[in-house]
Amino acid sequence: MTEFGVVGTSAPRLDGIEKATGRAAYVDDMVRPGMLHGAVLRSAYAHALIVSVDVSAALALPGVHCVLTGDDFPHRYGAFVQDEVVLARGRVRYVGEPVAAVAAETPALAREALNLIAVDYEELPAVMTPAEALAPDAPLVHEDFAAYGRRVAVPLPPNVCAVTTIAEGDADAAFADCDVVVEGVYRTQPQVHVYLEPCGALAEADAAGKVTVWSSCQSVFRVQATVAEVLGLPMSRIRAIASKVGGAFGGKSDVTVQPLAALLALRSRRPVKLVLTRDDDFMMMRTRHPAEIWMKTGAMADGRLVARAARITLDGGAYAEDSSAVLGFALLIARGPYRIDHIRLEGQVAYTNRLRAAGFRGYGNPQVTFAGECQIDEIAARLGRDPIDLRLQNAVRAGDDWVGGQRLEACGLVECLERLRDALPPRMPGRGIGVACVAHISGILSTSAIVRVLEDGTVTLSTGAVDLGEGADTVLSQICAETLGVPLDRVNYAVPDTDGSPYNWSTGGSRVTYMVGRAVTAAAGQARDRLFDHAAEMLECAVVDLELRPGGRVGIAGVPGAEVAFRDISARAHWAVGGPIIGNASVMFEGGGFDPKRSAVTGNGIGRLGAFVFGAQAAEIEVDDVTGQIAVRRIWAAHDVGRAINPTAVAGQIAGGVAQGLGYALYEDLCFDGPNPANPTLMDYKVPGAKEMPEIIPIIVEHPEPSGPFGAKGIGEPPLVPVAPAIANALADVRGVRLRQLPLTPERVLDALDAART
């Protein structure tokens, strides 16, 4: 169903051929004259005082130009708690924490220099789990916590960096009235992003001291702001440019190695390229928040879901970073996409001496939805109800309110469930089928766009949106082309560059199609309006008489011969009347938040977010009774995207999200052996390969979002979320066992099967 020319078509990725021919330039492919190579030294201890750091031998090595330590980065930063430094100062707080950095003539020399840095540590007792961290008299991960600047100022217990509560209605009273109550504790593991391109940056300072940083990042603006902050420079002296990004998934949302590269470049007065090795990336960067979730859901005999309570503890690792937002989002979602009036949700993020936890596709949703969607099935089982049927009975619909009071302007969840039900085949012998829903939010914070009509009538579109591979550049260009009625190849998508691009918070939060798309529609619309103003004068008519015609023309409606091309309009604007045609727009989501008459909220770290998106998935599995291994045969994934601007790109996000969800459900777990990560390498931490993949059947549902560009909203994160609970529910379906811990390893499945037999 395409009533549009460009929107709704599966236009090929703008840089597809460039990537397929190996010509796309990722940061490690870039070379600058006189470039040096950087490397980073990792902490060997989970918790230790840094007694001394002796860099003299490293500096003396011929070919080494610069060595940095914590002394070079005095500034503490952090989005919610200012607890973090670029290089450890005074103490280290996780195995792998960056302690020093060098720039040298070759990568080999840089690594050799690292080996010559002598760090004297005095080991301290470490806390490796939230339970240890929250025990009375536990060693403090941050002794100076009270002195740190904080965005959300609520009192916090020791080793806790965020606490949030949300309550609506009267959950305790509601539970007392329920006919069925299920209760359980669910545990999820640290998942590593494993973007295929390790973190990297190339920095170069000019003679005036302005630093340009090319990097693999999710936001050139976040890079600019954080690098400026930690170097104590004005943002106007930092220029951040996005090189091609080889995957991110949330792990490159915050700065990675950009501050190090920037200061190495400034000090050595040479360009410096710093790309992490894969194992450095595993040990230094970030994981998804592991979670322990106690949850309780109550229902009436007739199937109405009435109450939900949850207590969530997230393991934030050694530094707070975005943990407060992940917690807040997890709690906002924890009710699930159901008409549940009574909720009591509490959460905290604990500090531990582990690798930092950060945003990762889903942002707290995979954890809570694992618990929540397992509980819906547990209730269905107790009531003797079909799991899809029970969900349909309780599903939110357009016009309903979410937690906090935000109205759902459009909601395709019912259609997702119905189409899922229609797609499911009868049970094959030995196979189980499980279902799970997802609600997520597409949006967050602000964005902007500039559309310029060039002298020849073609168009340059500038947004700050970095494409991570999901196709932001293509989809936004499609939106721009559609709004102006031009072919896609007349739109030039400018590389995100803080010098030229208007601000965009980041690529993440499933927000680009929805938020940046809105800005693009508005900016292109403004450009169109200017084109019409000129055309009206050129054609001597009223603006209301005009229409856009395909191919970049404006004409008088109903008069085929009366038209003028963009080229001619733009020439007039540039050379005769009015000046260059530039459309621009700024967008901030205006809904959301918490209505105080409805919700009691404390410690909330998140603000107004965006439009809700919904989905439902089913997984068909088999279980090997000898090994306990789960084999997933098919996954049906129905997702409401409002409008599919580019259906193939949407299907690609669904398939890729499901694949990562499959890894989360079955295979991926960064394990710890005491203070040390036990498997921080690709040899021992395994992501799904081609032979693990089930058949994936995407079902694209479109309930246009009134505020979205052509009705569209996001798809980046939701497909990952329902996979784990759908598989867990399928396991219960085929073998009658209920597992509440991820990943669903063969050993855990076998333990559960054995326990069920006894």
């Binding site: 599966s10 397929a20 391109e197």
Partner: protein, 151 residues
């Protein structure tokens, strides 16, 4: 003695450093950056090249030991300016997202199609079973390889 091998038909010699890998030579000496350094220890597959026509990992091939070998990198496939059918198929199938795995997938497909011109889905999946993709879920890549087999 400076052992030579060919890369995309042109003769090259290995550097003096006995531990330099083929990947080092391709990227740092020859500016052929289509082969990537995703892990540098042979698991991710992003360094894939064709060595004497079969799929190999450039990060695991010592340059000095490549004497007499014919190396083909992704850059050879559109040397005449026209993308290879498998490259076009991958883009058309929506199999190119972040693109970091794509050159390797192209070569894995080329290596397969040279010995199995009409692979099944299972055979295509097996051919790329040593190449990680974190974006696409592999389905579209398999679609493209099977479609290229019907070209």
């Amino acid at each position: 003695m400076n052992p030579t091998f060919t890369v995309n038909g042109r003769s090259c010699s290995a550097p003096a450093d006995g531990t330099a890998t083929l990947l080092d030579v391709l990227r740092d000496q020859l500016a052929l950056t289509g082969a990537k350094r995703g892990c540098n220890y042979g698991v991710c597959g992003t360094c894939s090249v064709l060595i004497d026509g079969v799929l190999g990992r450039a990060c695991l091939a010592l340059a000095a030991d490549c004497a007499g070998r014919e190396i083909v990198t992704v850059e050879a496939l559109d040397a005449d300016g026209t993308p290879d059918p498998i490259q076009q198929r991958l883009v058309a199938a929506g199999a190119v997202q972040c693109g970091f795995c794509t050159p390797a997938m192209v070569l894995a497909a080329r290596g397969l199609l040279a010995v199995n011109p009409r692979p099944s889905r299972a055979e295509a999946a097996a051919a790329i079973s040593g190449n990680i993709c974190r974006c696409s879920g592999y389905g579209a890549i398999v679609d493209a390889i099977v479609a290229a087999g019907h070209d």
